[in-house]
């Protein structure tokens, strides 16, 4: 047996993996993430399959929630409080905002809990842990698709039509997803060590809801506050959705600020996640 041979020489082979202590900041390995795309697919698929199993209404749940919220908002904010909605019928005005908002809040909640919910596989199998928060933001996309279809019906009902601006929709959709992922990366990694994060999350989402123009228009925010306000990426996402679908004012300035903000949160979040990743299997 060659126990003492070549002890100091490294194995020279292309598919050799070096396992060593991880200290400080760890680089992000995108090609590895890509290699595990099948796992992402199956995790999202499991999530959807399990969620709608044994429910009578099944996928209609995806539509019921935003639809009834829209009705309540319309009654209280549209009829009673009479919040200005830039000339758009209030149901459409609020539904257009609820579309990305529900996607975002579901995505943040699911990705935050993704690591703890999958602790059994984290402890037993290796895979890029980033897959988990990513699967958390991907699965609400299906719900989004269904409630979007309902929205289109609503648009035609109120006499609105789709325009060429729809081509911009993927940009704002991506922005909503990336914002959810960026926040989810931070919170999921913190959640492993600090279990109070999971109790904080509903409070945070509620707070964020009022800091975003879901029930009101961002135009009601004073000029001096606009820059700080725009640091919330959901402002640009929601105003972007309204512009694309309903033809309100294009949110050019807000979008620029928001994009910078979301990229900063995302990149820092990625590195924070990778830095914390090494403790996941031991502490989750």
């Amino acid at each position: 047996m060659n126990l003492n041979r070549n002890r100091t020489k490294r194995l020279a082979n292309s598919n050799t993996i070096l396992i060593r202590p991880l200290r400080g900041w760890v680089p992000i390995n995108l090609s590895e993430l890509w290699a595990y795309r099948d796992l992402l697919y199956f995790l999202v698929w499991r999530e959807l399959k399990v969620r709608y199993k044994q429910t009578v209404l099944g996928i209609t749940w995806a539509v019921i929630q935003p639809f009834f919220m829209m009705i309540i908002f319309n009654l209280f904010f549209g009829r009673f409080v009479k919040i200005p909605s830039e000339g758009i019928p209030y149901p459409l005005f609020s539904y257009a905002a609820l579309l990305p908002w529900m996607l975002f809040s579901e995505g943040v909640t699911r990705s935050t809990n993704s690591l703890i919910a999958n602790d059994n596989i984290i402890k037993k199998v290796y895979f890029p842990r980033l897959i988990l928060p990513i699967s958390g933001i991907v699965s609400p996309l299906v719900d989004f698709g269904f409630s979007f279809a309902v929205f289109i019906g609503l648009m035609f009902y109120f006499g609105f039509g789709l325009t060429i601006r729809i081509l911009w929709l993927p940009v704002f959709l991506m922005m909503a997803l990336i914002t959810a992922l960026a926040v989810g990366l931070w919170l999921s990694a913190m959640n492993v060590r600090y279990r109070d994060v999971r109790y904080t999350i509903s409070f945070l989402i509620q707070f964020w809801f009022f800091a975003s123009p879901v029930v009101y228009s961002s135009a009601t925010v004073p000029k001096d506050w606009q820059l700080i306000y725009a640091l919330n990426p959901m402002v640009a996402v929601i105003e972007g959705f309204r512009w694309v679908l309903l033809g309100t004012n294009p949110p050019a300035f807000i979008t620029t600020v928001s994009m910078v903000a979301v990229l900063a949160i995302l990149i820092l979040g990625l590195f924070y996640f990778r830095r914390m990743e090494k403790i996941f299997a031991d502490e989750v």
Binding site: M1, I19, K123, V125
Partner: protein, 429 residues
């Protein structure tokens, strides 16, 4: 092309245990910021205790595994076996040193990882396969084979929550068995399923080894280590204690786990079980070829049970007896040194004994008991059947299978005893 599959160099893993182990809360983290200056003072005094909160689960581990080699890792609980496998699987990083792994790794730290009870057998095959690192196409290709291996064709579209535990394990293992990595890391997964299925799995595993794949196997099942592995490593408290031929390493392990127990001694006669006629002094388990008492017995070796007692009445006629109980308390047999019961003629039976210390021994042949835990009830009586001492569960010992009777079959042996008996088949027609 190198012929080495795994090389480990000075590997170490430090774990934090103790008070900070529990879930930390954000509140604690925040209050810590404010109390930090105060804590600095306390810490100086506490630093000694702090060091105790860390434990090296692994330390200074270095070894190499060649391509195509099947290596077994043994050791007691907490010896670091699973930690080592977790590091090699990249589930957790080491604290120091490094490991190089050459080839696609498949790790089986448990079977059925990620199984969801609400999903059908079909769905779980895909899910579990993907978690273990198989691709969708690969799963499509192997699907029928997996179902056939699990023998679950009829139930494949039933949610696994309706499966019996045996079916569940069969499905889980079937997926795992179809993993085709170049290096397979397995943690104690053979302990599942019924005997027939275990045999099938071991057969499959033997195939894996023959195909030239590298296998690292953790097991408490010494026979499977001896029969499947070409080399064994013994970990003790995070250190590599011994490596070499499985027979030697397993023997060494069984020798070391023979703890100081294996005997119970009452040094003071006044406090020993008994009365003013006779009192126990000690009960010991001894094994042929080993000095001193031993609580772990090699299945193939003779076991000696030794009962020492003080006779306190001059000229007493005493007998000694034993009940041997199995794990759940069933008496396997009872025996005594009386003339018609004992195989040998006990010189002190039926003969008036002077005051003093006596030592009675009973020999149980090797290859008679089954593996498992046995307890001894020590009995000393007077005359024909006048029991003076009945010390139930005086001492226990473990019988370990070392594989002599395990060349063909690795599953569990049914039965309270496992005697080696004479067999002969005749052709009569």
């Amino acid at each position: 092309m190198s012929d080495i599959a795994i090389r480990i160099e000075n590997l170490g893993k430090l774990y934090h245990i103790g008070e900070r182990q529990g879930y930390k809360t954000l509140r604690e983290a925040i209050t810590n910021i404010f109390t930090a200056p105060l804590r600095k003072f306390k810490e100086a005094a506490k630093s000694k205790d702090e060091a105790l909160n860390y434990i090296w689960a692994l330390k200074n581990i270095s070894f190499e595994i060649n391509k195509g080699e099947v290596v077994g890792i043994i050791g007691g609980n907490g010896a670091g076996k699973t930690t080592l496998l977790k590091i090699l699987s990249r589930i957790t990083p080491p604290t120091e040193g490094y490991a190089e792994v050459c080839g696609r790794v498949g790790s089986l730290l448990e079977v059925g990882t990620g199984f969801h009870p609400e999903l059908t057998g079909r769905d779980n095959i895909y899910l579990n396969g993907a978690i273990l690192g198989m691709e969708k196409q690969e799963l499509n290709r192997k699907f029928d084979e997996i179902v056939a291996f699990a023998e679950l064709e009829k139930f494949i579209d039933t949610p696994v929550k309706h499966y019996s535990s045996g079916m569940y394990v069969r499905l889980a293992f079937a997926v795992a068995a179809h993993l085709e990595p170049e290096i397979l890391l397995i943690d104690e997964v053979l302990a599942v399923g019924d005997a027939a299925f275990q045999k099938k799995c071991l057969g499959k595993m033997g195939d894996v080894a023959r195909e030239g794949r590298t296998v690292v196997l953790i097991s408490h099942n010494m026979p499977s280590i001896i029969n499947l592995c070409q080399r064994a490593l013994l970990l003790t408290a995070g250190r590599l204690e011994k490596e070499g031929h499985p027979n030697d390493v397993v023997q060494h392990y069984l020798d070391t786990v023979r703890s100081a127990s294996g005997q119970i001694v009452w040094p003071e006669a006044a406090k020993a079980p008994g009365n003013d006629i006779v009192r126990l002094q000690a009960v010991r388990i001894l094994q042929e070829g080993i000095d001193g008492p031993a609580a772990d017995i090699d299945i193939s070796k003779e076991v000696v049970i030794e009962i020492s007692y003080w006779n306190l009445k001059d000229g007493a006629l005493l007998y000694t007896a034993i009940w041997l109980r199995d794990q759940i308390g069933t008496v396997v047999f009872s025996t005594a040194n009386t003339t018609s019961v004992s195989l040998t003629d006990d010189p002190w039976y039926g003969r008036p004994q002077p005051k003093g210390l006596f030592q009675a021994t009973c020999r149980i042949p090797g290859n008679f008991l089954n593996e498992g835990l046995y307890s001894v009830t020590a009995i000393v009586g007077r005359g024909a059947a006048d029991t003076q001492i009945l010390q139930d569960y005086a001492i226990s010992f473990h019988v370990h299978d070392t594989g002599q009777m395990r060349k063909e079959y690795f599953g569990g042996w049914i039965g309270i005893v496992r005697p080696r008996l004479a067999w002969e088949t005749k052709y009569t027609g």
